[in-house]
């Protein structure tokens, strides 16, 4: 009874064609649930589906995994996740340029590291001074500025500074697919946050215009600042040029708790500095999606693959694979990397 009908070769081909047709129709139907306007710079990959499925799930009011809008928090690393971090962190380039600008007033820097190294473009000598050197640079660059003056300096610098490879303003070397993801999440009621090792004060002057992320949703490393009333009775905050908090590694989940106080639903990072934040979010009792950006596109951006920007082996990629966090391949998941240059 198992073979009560026998097909001819022609019928078999017909059936195979029908099966294929049904299969393709289903594929099309599945794809059709995502309008072309959603994440247009993302290829129609499993990663894109996972993002959209997750957002649909937590915003589906009748669904089991529905999350109220006020609890929809998404956190993003900045350097290497929202904008390029190669060949050097943009903030480091800013500091170097600032030291060069101030150098004429400091003849003693010609013979003193790490300043000598900066003035002679000898980055090996600068790196050799380690964290102590970095702190001296920070202090020399910013101590004594009011928070307003610092903001103006950053804004002015970004207006003219250009990336050496792409010859574009740094604020144009942000990732177009990530800009779309930020907008898509906000359109679905999410509050989008930056949680970055970069300086809070350095990111805020441009994050709103560039990412649509307002100052109060930018969390980063902070300096000590001092409250002062000047001789005209005007209250102001003076940067001390001394680090208060480094928002990297284990400090990222600490900062999420300290600043936000809710468990995010979505976290996106790209390096070991983000790993604790990703582990934290993936341990939440709320539905969550944790994503890991893989820099594997030397042609359009950079391929540092399994090495973080400091040349250390990246553990995050292993953990992502182990935990099943979607690893976003810049090369295969993204149609474009950077946005179109802005008209002048």
């Amino acid at each position: 009874m198992t073979h009560f009908v026998r097909f001819s070769g022609g019928s078999q081909r017909l059936i195979a064609a029908c099966v294929l047709f049904i299969f393709l129709a289903c594929q099309t139907a599945a794809a059709a649930t995502y309008p072309a306007t959603v994440l247009p710079s993302w290829n129609d990959s499993a990663t894109k589906s996972k993002i959209i499925d997750f957002v649909q799930k937590v915003t589906d009011e009748g669904g089991a995994e529905y999350v109220k809008p006020e609890e929809r928090i998404a956190v993003f690393d900045n350097d290497g996740t929202l904008w390029t971090e190669q060949p050097a962190y943009v903030q480091l380039v800013y500091l170097i340029d600032r030291i060069k600008t101030l150098a004429p007033q400091h003849p003693e820097w010609k013979t003193r590291q790490p300043f000598k190294g900066i003035l002679e473009n000898d980055m090996r000598a600068v790196a050799a001074t380690g964290n102590v050197g970095l702190m001296e640079i920070e202090h020399a660059a910013d101590a004594g500025l009011t928070t307003d003056e610092f903001k103006q300096n950053v804004t002015k610098w970004l207006d003219t500074a250009r990336d050496p490879r792409f010859r574009r303003p740094y604020t144009e070397l942000v990732y177009q697919p990530m800009l779309e993801l930020l907008s898509y999440l906000r359109a679905n009621g999410f509050k989008t946050y930056i949680v970055s090792g970069g300086g809070t004060d350095f990111m805020r002057p441009w994050a709103e215009k560039t990412y649509g992320i307002p100052p109060e949703q930018v969390i980063g490393s902070t300096d000590k600042v001092k409250f002062e009333i000047d001789k005209n009775g005007h209250a102001q905050l003076i940067k001390q040029g001394v680090i208060n908090f480094i928002d990297d590694g284990d400090s990222k989940p600490v900062a999420i708790n300290r600043y936000i106080g809710r468990m995010p639903l979505l976290a996106f990072g790209n390096s070991d500095g983000d790993l604790p934040m990703l582990q934290y979010v993936s341990s939440g009792t709320v539905p969550n999606l944790v994503l890991y950006l893989h820099h594997d596109d030397a042609g359009r951006e950079y391929a540092y693959d399994r090495k973080s920007s400091f040349g250390k082996l990246d553990k995050g990629l292993d953990e992502a694979t182990k935990k099943g966090w979607p690893v976003v391949s810049m090369k295969s998941d993204w149609k474009t990397v950077f946005p179109e240059p802005q008209a002048k």
Copy 2:
């Protein structure tokens, strides 16, 4: 020609009556611009007018002092500004109760200050141990708890704890006129923040339900916390019971810059711990309104007048008068102080 018409006595009275009528009509017209539903628990005083005028001014799109919604930030102290801080800070009462709860596991506390003082209700002895004692209490009460456990403890405690004078839950000893002001500001596009010396972790579990202020808009003092992955691979944050940042005095403007990064338009405080925050906001280049709550109502709440809760002379009241910041009198500006008791 100056006296071409001479009035009889009757005519003069008629004119006086007309003038009075017009005057009253104008008064009524002015009052009519504020519907009765706006700040209903506030008396129709100059203070109320200043608040409403300010909000109308910064939300008037055609006006010279219009401020875009995303830039409308208002900051409020908590203890003594949004809820009662007498006879002791609520958080201190929590800590005392917590020590009493834990005491059976710590027989050594019977002979050791500040614990001995707490167990014997000898607050003078506790106070004598000063900040060092307070830090010991904090450590004994909270060290080792996960942030989630701490949140549960606070929530559970607030459910049963009652204020000794009013016999009500502490979350009902919030000021009704201030609840209305918070709602009124939010209805006009403001983001309302708490900037308090109290613990961030202590306020967040109830601030959203009580004030409509979400966790990410609660800024306070913070503890050190440690990121940890437990033996089940679950990431969590452990409170160290050690103070990280005290959000009081000069630290309040520092916190506003660190957490919010925009200059608030409105600030409301009630003590010298708030003064730098008020000075900072009043120095902003954006339109601003700075208010000072004066506790002068012993019958309905407390009258500590020119003395802050620690018995020091209050400089803020002088500065408010000097700078023309509206001083809100609890006694004469507020129709009611506390909200109606909630139905069980």
